[in-house]
């Protein structure tokens, strides 16, 4: 039971990350391939501050998220106005740097041996796992709600315009660089928050947690579900993490001899699913989402101006 709650909690983290990636890539068109880097800064930042520097857990999470934000801000200045490929390469490199630093700076991170133990919030309560799961659920629902509001807001419309044609948006007076930078920094900081919130789940942090597979899992989930759809990220995580990591790994009656094959089989299925989606439904399972028009009072009728001749 505890393991199941752990899995579901982790799934919530994935949904949150995919939702943030939906804002970055689906709305603003920023291809962030360093999701695990920003998440990892939050995760390891929290671990290091909590264990090595004895911060209280909440303060550690907040400080670690600020580190994610600061790094995102510097990176935004350096690469956000360059091409998509540059952003992709730079964010991927950042994730690699974070993973490497965690191994080399063993005085504070514990190196390859890892760092722990991270305290668990609500520790005085009996069913703290369930309470924490509920807390994560509230955070992720909040994220999805804000992301839906964002899509329907003036800022969201501006981001979509920038994604479609940045030069044109700038020619209409939109400070496209600032809008992208702000969006990137805030969403990366929130990835850091999710990283910090993952620390108590993992309890003991090892560099393996910072492997790029998390970035790919989140990307695959987003592309599967539909990068342009508000709920695509969630559906994508259900179809990948939910299906394989929870359903199959926990419940499928896999014979002992084949158990070791499951993770590889999972990667194989991810790949096959991705190829099928890209071939037959490039916008994802849910497809593109049109902004939600709130019903409005009918505007005062304007008489049709006749087209003037000659």
């Amino acid at each position: 039971m505890d393991y199941l709650i752990f899995s579901f909690s982790l799934m919530l983290i994935y949904i949150g990350l995919a939702q943030l990636l939906h804002i970055q890539f689906g709305l603003a068109g920023i291809p962030n391939f360093g999701v695990v880097g920003f998440w990892g800064l939050g995760l390891y930042g929290t671990g290091v501050l909590y264990v090595t520097y004895s911060f209280p857990l909440l303060a550690a999470i907040a400080a670690a998220s600020l580190i994610s934000a600061a790094v995102a801000w510097v990176l935004a200045y350096l690469v956000l106005q360059r091409s998509g490929q540059s952003i992709l390469a730079a964010t991927l490199a950042l994730a690699a740097i974070v993973a490497t630093l965690v191994v080399t700076e063993k005085d504070i991170t514990g190196g390859v041996q890892g760092i722990g133990t991270i305290g668990f919030p609500f520790s005085e309560m009996a069913n703290r796992n369930v309470i924490y799961f509920g807390f994560l659920l509230a955070v992720v629902i909040g994220l999805i709600w804000v992301s839906a509001r964002l899509r329907d807001s003036r800022l969201g419309r501006q981001l979509i315009a920038i994604r479609d044609n940045e030069e044109l948006a700038a020619s209409l007076g939109k400070d496209t660089a600032a809008a992208k930078r702000m969006t990137f920094v805030v969403t990366c900081a929130l990835m850091g928050v999710l990283g910090g919130l993952s620390a108590p789940l993992h309890q003991f942090l090892v560099p393996y947690h910072l492997a790029p597979s998390l970035t790919f899992a989140v990307w695959i989930a987003l592309v599967l579900g539909g990068k342009g759809h508000n709920l695509g990220a969630m559906i994508g995580v259900f179809a990948t993490f939910g299906l394989f990591d929870i359903l199959i790994e926990t419940y499928a009656p896999v014979p002992q001899d084949y158990a070791l094959m499951v993770p590889n089989f999972k990667l194989f299925c991810y790949g096959a699913l991705l190829v099928l989606i890209i071939m037959y439904r490039p916008t994802g399972i849910l497809g593109e989402d049109a902004p939600h028009e709130r019903p409005k009072a009918a505007p005062t009728p304007v008489p049709d101006t006749p087209v003037k001749e000659g």
Binding site: N165, S171, L172, R294, V302
Partner: protein, 248 residues
């Protein structure tokens, strides 16, 4: 309203495309800029709106609140002062409906920040009204949908610039790709706004009858330099213009 350029040059690979000693736009209400293909008209427009960086030269804009050099400004800052350009080639936001595209252009960038996520209403009543009035004036196939044809996209591009309420509007070949009657409606609308003192306009065009009909003053650009300026009749009668452009 005065947009001035002095000693403005632009070279690509040592090939000089624009070399203008001095030119001023915006003094008269509706001005025309004509010239043969490759004269540098579009490059000049791009230089003026800071979309293209000049090789050398000064650009100044005086909106009545003191002259400001445009040289250090970015493209969006130029637009915010009130200098906006329509596009010669079709440009658009593919994921925005006609209405959203216009609402975007009508919105003050200051209201599009982070806090707008939590605003109750997305667009103020007056923006909705201006958008509706503009859309109703033209025969879009689907007024609540997306711009379909190239013509609709081109029209939408011009309308976006109009609804942004520039002080000086540069129109780069507004007739290219637009049906004649739509061009007329647009130009009548522009003329009305100019007469009402809302804005000044510079039109770049190959459609000379349109220039002669609507413009109060015409600049003739050839081989990157301004060769002649004057009232439409003077330009029409000018020997250099006739030789270089009209081929008579």
């Amino acid at each position: 309203m005065k947009l001035e350029a002095a000693n403005l040059t632009k070279s690509y690979h040592q090939h000089e495309v624009v070399n203008i000693e001095k030119v001023a736009f915006g003094a008269k209400g509706l001005e025309g800029l004509i010239g043969p293909n490759g004269a540098g008209k579009s490059t000049l427009m791009g230089l003026l709106t800071r979309r293209i960086a000049p090789t050398s030269g000064q650009i100044k804009l005086d909106t009545g609140q003191g002259a400001r050099s445009l040289n250090p400004l970015k493209s969006h800052e130029v637009a915010r002062i009130g200098l906006i350009k329509t596009n010669q080639r079709i440009q658009g936001f593919d994921s925005l409906t006609i209405r959203d595209s216009l609402r975007l252009a009508a919105s003050d960038p200051k209201t599009e920040g982070f806090m707008s996520i939590f605003a109750g209403e997305r667009d103020a009543e007056d923006i909705e009204e201006r958008v509706s009035r503009l859309i109703e004036a033209f025969p879009f196939t689907d007024r609540n949908g997306y711009a379909r044809s190239g013509g609709e996209k081109k029209l939408l591009d011009i309308l976006r610039c109009l609804i942004a309420e520039p002080k000086l509007l540069l129109m780069d070949e507004p007739t290219a790709g637009l049906p004649d009657d739509i061009t007329r409606t647009v130009m009548e609308m522009v003329r009305e706004k100019v007469a009402g003192g809302e804005m000044r306009v510079v039109v770049v065009e190959h459609d000379l009858p349109l220039i002669w009909e609507y413009c109060d003053y015409v600049h003739f650009l050839s081989e990157g330099s301004i060769l002649f300026e004057g009232a439409p009749e003077e330009v029409k009668a000018n020997r250099v213009v006739a030789e270089k452009y009209m081929g008579v």
